[in-house]
Assembly symmetry: C2
Homo-oligomer: 348 residues x 2
């Protein structure tokens, strides 16, 4: 197995380092030969070579069987609307060039952390849903986009083809078949032409999945219900921008944001990353929580290699570390706070 | 004072009827001559004349000093992506033709209802912020929008001018000056050209309001922080679509969605409406909570007529009804549930 490592910015390198320890340990235990190849991305890559997703990094990803990604983003590039190169452009270019059209974002709870949820216990206990966010289309990439000549007017284009919607929706339908058989299509069909194509396309596909119940909800209603009654959801499918907002909203309800993994998958490539950001304030301090990245490595064994026992071994050891209190300061709560690297060593 | 009444669909007529009772009582007590003129809107207007915002209704609004609006939306028009006329089109046309460019959405808590919040008490206690959502621009109205010839590709256009951003932002700055002097500009400047124009424009205006602290946050981050720490916010400004999603998310955190009023204001016209929807399941049953509409009438006295004592009289009586338990079933909690009309009578 060839794994590309893209640590990126902020705490990225520290959390990736722990995932590497764990992946190596799994390799040793289960007898897999695992090779790693590291490459720069994000602000780190801008500083190195002036490009947040250099061609050389792309080639590393293409050669790999899976990509483990840390985080990108650096405050020095924020609040500067005129900056010419931004780390995020690298992320977007990477998603598009690797064809990672589906971002898979599970939300579930950890019994030992659920009390950290901002929601009341009865609302959040047992929450278990997964978003499939379209990741390479929509207003993130649509053309034309830009300004008029005088710079007084700006525009972006949201665009979707039936094909783009279909491939994402099918992943959602299939996931629903393996789960609780409920699919929620999230759109704004009462306003947007793109949303009406989403709804229409999903309606056309639904008869092929007769065991799946399909619901259609407006994005504003879902933004409410995710807080009011998140247990109502099983699988949600949505477009890129709505997915950006709603998956982040969803990420905080479980109280264990620092533990939530994600996968971004396409036809040929697969990338795994923690959903938390680059958390620049913590960078270099050996205090960041590595569990989301470690669990992303578990998702990698499952989704990229079909190795369920290996994935389960990682999930199990993460649960053990939680039970044993071998955790970083963000979830230590009065108990001893372990360093990022110590948690990684323990897990490995 | 000429007040246009647009009850609309579902529970709209019932809740508007209670607001009218209260407005009449205020008129009698404070010696104002108040005239009402009613007109159809939404599904009701489609059923009557085939148009969700008929020209005759528009004229009633233009002649009025303020518009009191109920709700629109009817399930028979949902899940039908090919429907030719939809109630929502009336709402959008109304906003645009009346030039209601700013939707003002306060979120605050009622001590007697705060336990109904899905959030833990310590997170939501004392929450007090207000959104200014741009309401007549952005992807709701941008052209081109539609499909390609084969119908396999759909597109929408998000577009903003500096002028549109400026007038909305100024309202936000001025509100911040009257409040806790913190303004949060919500955008997606790391991806969207329109958002970069928003951020740039707000940055240019900021020096004119030196007493206001300005923060810039991405829409996905705000979707998280609204749940994690909503007390952090004072005044938020944002574009139409982000505002749609975030104001609805915000509306459920206080636990008193059935009480939240709103205003939509422009240069010449002002409209006031409860933020809850048409709630079709409850229509005609005399069980809907009229308080949000009654409080919208209070906002009307304040914002449209500059009559603070009248507005305060309404707010006071609403608080008294809550304290006395003269409330509808949604907030009765084991106590006696009063009918919509009984609550209206008591308030009046
Ligand atoms: C950094 C940004 C461009 C990105 C996005 O909006 O997709 C991020 O918010 C995410 O969700 O991965
Ligand atoms: C009904 C719909 C068109 C409308 C909107 O999206 O603006 C509604 O959600 C609102 O927020 O008033």
């Amino acid at each position: 197995m060839n794994i590309a490592l893209l640590p990126g910015d902020g705490i990225g390198p520290e959390v990736i380092a722990q995932a590497v320890k764990v992946v190596k340990a799994v390799g040793a235990k289960f007898g897999h030969k695992i090779k790693f190849e590291e490459a720069p991305v994000g602000a780190t890559a801008i500083d190195l070579v002036g490009d947040p997703y250099p061609e050389s990094t792309h080639e590393v990803c293409l050669r790999a069987d899976a990509v483990l990604f840390g985080a990108i983003g650096d405050p020095k590039y924020d609040n500067n609307p005129k900056a010419k190169v931004r780390p995020e452009q690298g992320l977007l270019r990477m998603r598009q060039k690797l064809g990672l059209f589906a971002n898979v974002r599970p939300t579930f709870t950890f019994p030992s952390l659920i009390h950290k949820s901002p929601l009341k216990l009865e609302r959040v206990e047992g929450v278990d849903f997964v978003f499939f966010r379209e990741l390479t289309g929509g207003i993130y990439f649509g053309e034309p986009r830009g300004r008029n000549e005088q710079g007084t007017k700006a525009f972006d284009t949201n665009v979707y083809t039936k094909e783009e919607i279909t491939r994402l929706a099918r992943m959602g339908f299939e996931a629903a078949q393996r789960r609780r058989k409920l699919l929620t299509c999230v759109d704004k069909a009462n306003v947007l032409a793109t949303s009406r194509l989403w709804r229409e396309t999903v309606q056309e596909l639904a008869p092929e999945y007769p065991d799946v119940k399909v619901e259609y909800e407006f994005v504003d209603a879902v933004a409410m219900r995710l807080i009011q009654w998140p247990k109502a959801y099983d699988v949600l499918i949505t477009e890129n921008l709505f997915g950006d907002i709603l998956t982040d909203e969803a990420s905080v309800i479980s109280g264990s944001m620092g533990l939530m993994p994600s996968a971004s998958v396409g036809t040929d490539n697969k990338l795994f990353e923690p959903i938390h950001g680059s958390y620049p304030q913590a960078a270099g301090k050996d205090i960041a929580n590595p569990l989301a990245t470690v669990l992303s490595a578990a998702m990698m064994f499952d989704y990229a290699f079909g190795l369920k026992a290996e994935a389960q071994a990682i999930t199990d050891v993460v649960n053990k570390s939680l039970a044993a209190g071998i955790v970083t300061e963000d979830i230590a709560e009065g108990g001893k706070a372990y360093k990022t690297s110590e948690v990684g060593d323990w897990l490995a």
